[in-house]
Subunit: 411 residues, 2 copies
């Protein structure tokens, strides 16, 4: 089964957007055992798009388009595909009504040009778009499968996972590829690889791939098999082996982020938390409050940028700030215990540092961050020096905060 | 002058790597006024690569390959190109010597398979690679220009900047392309397009392209000209025309994010701000504190998840919460005026809503968000209903907050 991907959009040819759709689709198809032999990007141009599509029909069984399904004049993918296949475009009232609902809920009137999104080629199935207005389209004609998806990754991704992949798996009786992703804190990529190098070397199914990402080291264990159960039976013994060596560093066995793991542990253990952030500017709280249901254990955060706020909101005495500095172990600990006392939570977190680009000195350079955790077992503080720009430092500091909470949550 | 880009590498077709090379090259070529009409990705496969190259020779003047120049057997780009063009591959001793030097400096012996990298097609120019061993190749044959570059972006990028772009500019006497990006708040893509459809239709230089992105609607106005000054003279009158129609919705004339615009306006106007966030969970403050130097005007935020915190930290009376609900216009306004009073800032922001997935009701569904702004001119509140998952609702609400501040900051 050979597939190809055609990305449509002049913005791609102008280099304004990175084509992550082609990568995402290629990865998912490859996991189904479907070969992708070509990825082509072409602009919103009828003649060139037509030529590419005719070529694709000649050499591939499955052709997936992304982009060019929107309401504007330059969105022409559907029109070109229908024309080449000789299919009439007909109005689908279900789509029209559901678009109308979306606009109505927003208190807006649907403008006339949106109606074009309700046209689908005769005999095609439409794919619901829960994150935008342009529906996807699935066409089975002769021995060819043609799939049209919208360009925005946030709309395309769910449609692929919820409709396209199950449909392809069913139609083409694909085997499966299953991966388990372990996530690590407190160990580097090379130390991890050394600790399990013999396990990595002796495996071909599953394969074991360490990967250092911005949010920590992960290990992907991938098995090929005919069924999910068979794949699990291949993966599980290897996971046990790895757990025996480096289990202390594993915070997730199913690719969860550290903030999700921490949020769920707080919920499970019924431990409440409050935070006092300075240099991270609310980013830690943002990540924590992405966890559904977190309101049961998260009480409040104070984003305390000024010294006045540290005094008024967190009871950090001005003489401590004057003697040790706003960026110091003492201040971080008083922020953590201050917010914990005020909000009467099990944990209090204090973060203070210099995110840059200015504000650094020889003694306290940009990237210096103190992270404190206060609980009934006492107060502790870590000193970090992060590199990177302002946003990177905020993100790295936030990750360190969740690592610190994770390591202490079960104590 | 028409160009196309051919990316070679099976890892791209497996979705293991994002193709950033195609974007980078497209952007640079487009800035030279060279049209890129196709980007194709193909695996390390002789027959398919040959077909794509022959097709490219037929339709493009400039063909740029990335990838497949390394020392291993599956690196075949150079061999296929030479074969199709009928050019003999000959050893270049300069390349061989310089590779030998690189290995010697590392105290390594060059393995035999590296020698293949010193082969170049007869009559071609080689492009030095200062960050790796595989040199690039520049071929001028008949009226076609064929450029071969290594796949790793860290090697390819400098070769493009230092050799390829200057060479193309000189050879093709390129003009330049200049773009101006306008960003909009408070108007949708289709409404914007309708409002200026006659302007869009009547233009070919500059071109005008509306684009709906997750962070709002943008308009890219792109001119081709011989000089930057000439391009500006083409773009500026069109910008004035658009400004006359929809200027009220334009928050940036140079592609700045709404949070940067708001942050800079606060700094410029010396207006201080504080925030009380509930459902956005610190995300608004995170975005605001990404603006360097914002500490001069940003005092503090309270991320107030619990009713107790709304009472204790923001002085929102419990009877208001009981009578109208924590998610209500009344609560949002009291949060905004509460934080403004406490921190004595010019602006106070209050945000309360239901980010989901649970917590919604028929009367107050998931996605309902109240956003209030308090200032000396009085208090105002907006009601929004956002769609999407928890994170999307947080992000959309945050964007609406910056829109609201922006519209009121100059009053």
């Amino acid at each position: 089964m050979d597939a190809e991907i055609i990305s449509v959009g002049t913005e791609l040819l102008l280099g304004q957007t990175t084509n992550t759709n082609a990568q995402y689709l290629s990865k998912e198809l490859s996991d189904l055992g479907i070969n992708v032999y070509f990825q082509t990007t072409v602009g919103d141009n009828e003649s060139r798009l037509k030529k590419i599509f005719i070529k694709a029909l000649d050499r591939s069984d499955i052709i997936i388009f992304t982009g060019g399904l929107g309401p504007t004049q330059d969105d022409i993918t559907k029109e070109v595909v229908a024309k080449v296949l000789g299919l009439e475009l007909i109005f689908n009232t279900d789509i029209l009504n559901s678009m109308d609902d979306v606009f109505r809920q927003k208190g807006l009137e649907m403008s006339k040009n949106n109606e074009k999104q309700a046209l689908i080629p005769k005999g095609a199935i439409y794919i619901e778009n829960n994150y935008g207005t342009a529906p996807g389209i699935y066409i089975q004609k002769d021995d060819k499968t043609i799939i049209l998806l919208p360009g925005p990754p946030k709309e395309m991704g769910p449609m692929v996972r919820e409709f396209v992949l199950p449909k392809l798996r069913e139609t083409f009786k694909c085997g499966i590829i299953k991966s388990k992703i372990l996530r690590f804190a407190g160990i580097g990529e090379s130390a991890l690889e050394e600790a399990i190098s013999d396990i990595i070397k002796n495996q071909s199914n599953p394969t074991i791939a360490p990967l250092a990402k911005e949010d920590g080291v992960t290990l992907r264990i991938t098995a090929k098999a005919q069924t999910v159960e068979r794949a699990s039976a291949i993966i599980d013994p290897v996971v046990s082996l790895i757990k025996g060596r480096v289990g202390n560093y594993i915070y997730s066995y199913d690719n969860k982020s550290i903030q999700d793991v921490v949020g769920e542990l707080l919920l499970k253990n019924k431990k409440t938390i409050s935070l006092a952030e300075s240099c991270t500017g609310g980013y830690v709280t943002h990540l924590l409050t992405n966890v559904p249901g977190i309101s049961a254990v998260f009480d409040r955060s104070i984003i305390s940028y000024s010294n006045t706020s540290k005094l008024e909101d967190l009871n950090v005495p001005l003489n401590v700030i004057n003697d040790y500095g706003a960026v110091s172990e003492n201040t971080a600990i008083l922020m953590a215990s201050g917010i914990r006392g005020l909000s009467k939570t099990d944990f209090g977190v204090g973060i203070t540092g210099i995110a840059g680009p200015s504000g650094g000195s020889a003694e306290k350079p940009v990237g210096l961050v103190f992270i404190a955790l206060s609980s009934k077992s006492g107060d502790l503080c870590e000193r970090h020096l992060f590199s990177g720009d302002r946003e990177t430092i905020k993100k790295r500091a936030s990750r360190a905060v969740f690592n610190l909470i994770w390591r202490n949550i079960s104590k």
